[in-house]
């Protein structure tokens, strides 16, 4: 991870546009994500957060505009290719390998494993490199001791953590988190918050999130989407005091909270 060398923004979008059928979801979205910062994209329901996120990770292709990673145009790249460059995403709707144990889930995500994907002979467990890496990550996300429990038997909170663990295992330079806190109760929320905080110290993290408190507490930089456009950008406090945002977003936030 050579974050320190990066001078320009590590990830950047230029004039993104996306429409489904006639309905324009994103219009001229320009975002810059600085290395080793936690940037959040927020906005009311239907503002286009998720679409924007999927454009970043490549699960959707933009109608117009470009996405630059380390100054290189990655717009045409497929999700797996971006992942190999070091852009790893998590899923809001949990997307784990349910029949796999915690260990297997993480291990299969480790690049060391990926590079041996064409190996038909060696037992997967025998690849110590992957094994160690996986063990480290499991300790990091605090699931040590549950390595051999199958994912489907974990509690929801633990699955959330594992979700992030799996994403981390990809050795990302940019970590894309899709509503990591959604559906979490109080205590798991705490653990998760601490985890993300620790990560944000040396990782570039882009997170789209509903939970205002979570965002304001952790992020260095916030972009507010409204009706498919960026209406405000800046450090948390600036956003908090931005009148337009209050009007456009915080008003709805109550609604959004209420529905959670």
């Amino acid at each position: 991870m050579s974050v320190s060398e990066a001078t320009s923004p590590i990830l950047e979008t230029r004039g993104l546009r996306k429409a489904f059928g006639g309905h324009v979801v994103l219009e001229d979205v320009n975002l810059r994500f600085e290395p080793a910062r936690l940037s959040a994209i927020i906005g009311p329901n239907g503002a286009g957060k998720t679409t924007c996120f999927n454009l970043l990770n490549g699960f959707l292709a933009p109608d117009r505009g470009r996405i630059l990673f380390r100054g290189r145009d990655i717009t045409p790249l497929a999700p797996e290719e971006r992942a190999r460059l070091g852009m790893c995403r998590s899923f809001q709707i949990l997307n784990l390998f349910n029949d796999y144990t915690v260990l297997e889930n993480v291990r299969v995500a480790v690049p060391a494993m990926r590079q041996r994907g064409s190996n038909l002979w060696t037992p997967a467990g025998a690849i110590s490199e992957a094994e160690d890496k996986a063990a480290r990550i499991i300790r990091l996300i605090g699931l040590a001791g549950r390595e051999h429990v199958e994912a489907k038997y974990l509690s929801y909170g633990q699955r959330r953590l594992l979700e992030i663990g799996v994403t981390l295992a990809g050795e990302p330079e940019v970590l894309l988190l899709d509503e990591p806190t959604s559906g979490l109760g109080m205590r798991p929320m705490e653990t998760l918050r601490d985890l993300v905080k620790r990560l944000s110290e040396d990782l570039t993290i882009v997170v789209i999130e509903h939970d205002m408190d979570f965002v304001l507490a952790l992020s260095h930089h916030i972009a507010v989407l409204h009706r498919g456009m960026v209406i405000a950008e800046g450090p948390p406090e600036a956003i908090q005091n931005n009148a337009e945002v209050r009007e456009a977003y915080l008003g709805r936030l109550k609604y959004a909270r209420a529905t959670q």
Binding site: T101, E104, H148
Partner: protein, 430 residues
């Protein structure tokens, strides 16, 4: 991987247990079937007849006749003082199934003789398999000429006339009475191509002229395209080398399009069931058959009565050509054992080769030719009866002529049969 590992352990043990359980189940049945077979060392005959697939109904006619023959012998106290038992397997009109079933008959049930075939596709591999074991196999009803030519085997005897014979029987008559401008429909598989090959051979002999040919792929249901083509060619005679349900559908649609009036239709080989399936108004055309149940030659009507009595209520109550072949083949097998005085294959083969069958319910006797094991029968020429001419619902054909065996049996010169010597044939039975 701990949990995984253990679960694999489990499944492995379970696998064994499961297998064992099945084993016991199958074992039970197995023993029961063995027990049933422990009579006074009966002669066990394997019947390989189709009950499913294209030739299902013909296969069953074949089987009924064989069973009748066996029962009649048992009524007379069996053969060599031994009762005769049979074990039937459904060969499903399918070569590879047939081979599996035959292997089982031979290996597990330890049959002494094997008999039964309609489809040449089944007959060829079966006779080959039989030769490997040395078990005598009667090919009761398949009519491709390969099994008496390049694919002939010492242990295999072929009881039906073959495509070459049918074609040669019809050719002269057709060209004389119906016309010399022929159009050919060929069922696009081995049997069909053989018939067409033979048909062409005959055409040159009788000086008929071929206006064209259309291949009919198997599984063709709609013949309108072909029928319209035939109409546009205006032939005098249509030679339809088409079998099975395709033949039924072809007739059906020929009637629908009025093509049955366009030309004289000739079906060199006519399976009784395929004609029977049709609405009487839609039966038309000329064809050959090896036997017909209204014949009055010695024994014929008696046989018909016995068969009707035994199989009243069967889909086809009367014995047609397939049943007749099946019956005679079965009967001759048992007689040959009696003549040989043993079930040992070498002796029985000797007892069969060159034997002349006089009481074959026909005008002329049939001969088992020792050099290609073809049983040379006489052939009848027939045409479909109009509804008003039918005596009963079984009465479909009007015999319009017959040819003695020697006149239509393929001569030795053209035979491609190179048969193993008896010595080369592994000893089996006895």
């Amino acid at each position: 991987m701990k949990t995984k590992a253990t679960s694999k352990e489990v499944t492995r043990r379970e696998l064994l247990r499961g297998a064992a359980a099945i084993g016991v189940g199958v074992g039970f049945i197995g023993n029961w079937r063995w027990a049933r077979a422990q009579a006074k060392k009966p002669i066990l005959i394997g019947l390989t007849c189709d009950a499913t697939g294209t030739f299902a109904d013909s296969g069953q006619c074949d089987r009924r006749a064989m069973i009748l023959a066996i029962e009649e012998f048992n009524a007379k106290g069996g053969v060599l003082g031994r009762p005769i038992e049979y074990k039937w397997e459904d060969t499903e009109t399918d070569a590879s199934v047939a081979v599996r079933k035959a292997q089982r008959l031979i290996e597990r049930d330890k049959i002494d003789f094997m008999i039964g075939a309609i489809s040449s596709a089944v007959a060829a591999p079966l006779s080959e398999l039989a030769q490997r074991y040395g078990i005598i196999y009667f090919n009761s009803n398949s009519s491709a000429d390969t099994v008496t030519n390049e694919k002939c085997q010492r242990v295999n005897f072929v009881w039906d006339c073959n495509t070459w014979q049918f074609a040669n029987a019809l050719g002269p008559l057709v060209s004389k009475t119906l016309g010399k401008k022929w159009f050919i429909l060929t069922h696009d598989y081995v049997w069909g191509k053989n018939v067409t090959k033979d048909t062409r051979e005959v055409m040159t002999k009788v000086g008929a002229q071929e206006l064209g040919e259309i291949l009919i792929p198997q599984g063709t249901r709609d013949f309108s395209a072909q029928l319209l083509r035939v109409r546009s060619m205006k032939p005098e005679v249509v030679i339809a080398n088409v079998a099975g349900i395709e033949q039924t559908a072809l007739r059906e649609q020929a009637f629908e399009f009025g093509s049955d009036k366009d030309a004289h239709w000739v079906f060199p080989q006519q399976d009784y069931p395929d004609l029977f399936a049709l609405d009487p108004k839609r039966r038309f055309g000329y064809f050959t058959t090896t036997w017909y149940h209204t014949l009055t030659d010695p024994g014929a009507q008696d046989f018909v009565q016995r068969f009707k009595k035994r199989w009243a209520g069967a889909p086809i109550e009367i014995p047609e050509n397939v049943a007749c072949n099946g019956y005679i083949a079965m009967r001759e097998m048992l007689r040959a054992i009696e003549r040989a005085g043993t079930t040992r294959n070498h002796e029985v083969i000797k007892a069969l080769e060159g034997h002349v069958i006089k009481d074959n319910f026909r005008k002329y006797p049939s001969t088992i030719r020792e050099w290609d094991h073809l049983v040379s029968n006489m052939i009848f020429l027939a045409k479909a009866k109009k509804p008003n001419e039918m005596k009963d619902k079984w009465d479909l054909m009007e015999l319009i002529g017959d040819l003695p065996p020697e006149q239509i049996a393929p001569p030795k010169e053209i035979s491609r049969c190179k048969m193993q010597s008896i010595a080369e044939t592994p000893v089996y039975g006895g």
